[in-house]
Amino acid sequence: MILKKITSTEQLRRISKEIRKSVLISLAEAGSGHTGGSFGLADIFTTLYFNILNHDPDNPDWEDRDRLILSIGHVAPVHYASLAIAGYFPKEELLTLRKLGSRLQGHPGREHGLPGLELSAGSLGQGLSVAVGMALAGKMDNKKWRVYSIHGDGELQEGSIWEAAMSASNFKLNNLTSIIDRNDLQIDGKTSDVMQLEPLADKWKSFGWNVLECNGHDHSDIIEKINQAKKVKGKPTVIIAKTIMGKGVKSIEDNHLWHGKAPSKEQLKDFLIQLEND
């Protein structure tokens, strides 16, 4: 059955909290993984899976589903938690993250059979091209389904992103919406220190995209901007979502050292309390 859309922001906030909690528990159990980005994207994933996407957890390959391409495979924990909570697989399986024989690989790997994954990914800069290919196929066949892709801001330093960006506007792919996790952080520090991305909106505009910005932690703002993108004719839309890496656990917020780190079992208790009080 197609998942019912949740419109109450109160309810969406509760789901985001549940997702963050599941991410923390699965990462602590795994002992490694990417906490920061997973937390920063939790509200966007919630919005997509529980309000925006037409999808059916009982029939993951439903041909008219909207497609979600996660280009930054390292935030797999938030993707897995969203899928489990949406009903694609039992939540207990989240505890197998990164373990031998698990369907929950460190970076998404479809060959391990986890339902709901559109793409095996992990090498940065590739997902936008795949999303373009999907959107092109959808256009060719006059399909109603839409393609969403999620990218990191650091990822935009990859040249292949701009090859893909050029082609998306060239083919007028208004059935494609890309969301940038704009937290201004990457492994080595601030993106502005590592490699300047600004003026980011102007870059996308000059590549022929419709550009929107939103608060990546405000569910209604995310919904509003994605719905605006649906109405745009003749060009793809990019939504630059302002986020805070690690959002939800005060002691790790906006700290690039939490890009690729998992909480210890001791930290887990403290983080869960911080999350509860957030």
Partner: protein, 321 residues
Amino acid sequence: MKEFKNKGDKSTKEGFGEGVVVIGEMNPNVIGLGADITASVGMNLFAEKFPERFFSLGIAEQNCIGVAAGLALSEKTPVFSTYGVFAALRTTDQLRISVCYNNLHVIIGGAHAGISVGPDGATHQALEDIAVMRVLPNMTVLSPCDATQTKLAVIAALEQVKGPVYIRFGRAPVPDFTFPEMEFKVGKSQLLCNGNDLTIIATGHLVWDALQAAYTLNEQGIKARVINMHTIKPIDEQAIIKASEQTGAIITAEEHQIYGGLGGAVAEVVAKNIPVPMEFIGMDDSFGESGKPEELLNKYKMTSEYIIEKAKKIIKRKLTI
């Protein structure tokens, strides 16, 4: 001995182009992708015949591979052709993750394969593509011997392969000697000439040279077996093991680096099963250069004369074991 005759010179690129049109007719989900060099990689016929199914993506090969993956994830069968140097090396990471790790049915054409590309020189002579492609999990690697067979290889890539498949072909007109009736079975080599003194396992253009070498050797009383290894991966292990057992000596011949190419692939099977002396015809760990195809093939020792030389050498080695 039944000898194969040259029906007339024709580039394997032309065979590829004709094959892509055939699969376009066979299946409406076949989509063509191009990176600006449409005609020189054999995609122009498809682009003219099916303009609504051909997309020019500009000089952006990495994007081409990703777009191909997206199409393949959406019930399409994309064919992307570019020069082999770019197909295998410019886009290796996209191939590895977006295409191979996702195990998608994407057909990749690798044009300008081998030293016989000629005057364009080292930058455009694909001599490492087999090595790169065959190391990628899930990838099938085809290296047909002439235009007729290249056309069949494209059809086989659509009908017989479920995952990613690379088809390598050249630029220079070369003898077209096989027949459309000769079945192209992916993973099954072709015994073109039987003999028990040694085996020449060749791929691509050099299959013709291997045959010419075998015919000359035959006149001198040396019976050479010639195997057309048109599929590099999965390689026909049974044919190689049989050749080792029955002929006791193997020469490989390819327009490619010896390291990691057909020679390496055959040596792996031989060493694992029944070790026999081997000799290798191919690029010996160097870049090519400008020149006419025949001048280059001669300079880098990839002609029937050199195959004959190696044949005599390996028979001596075999007898001293």
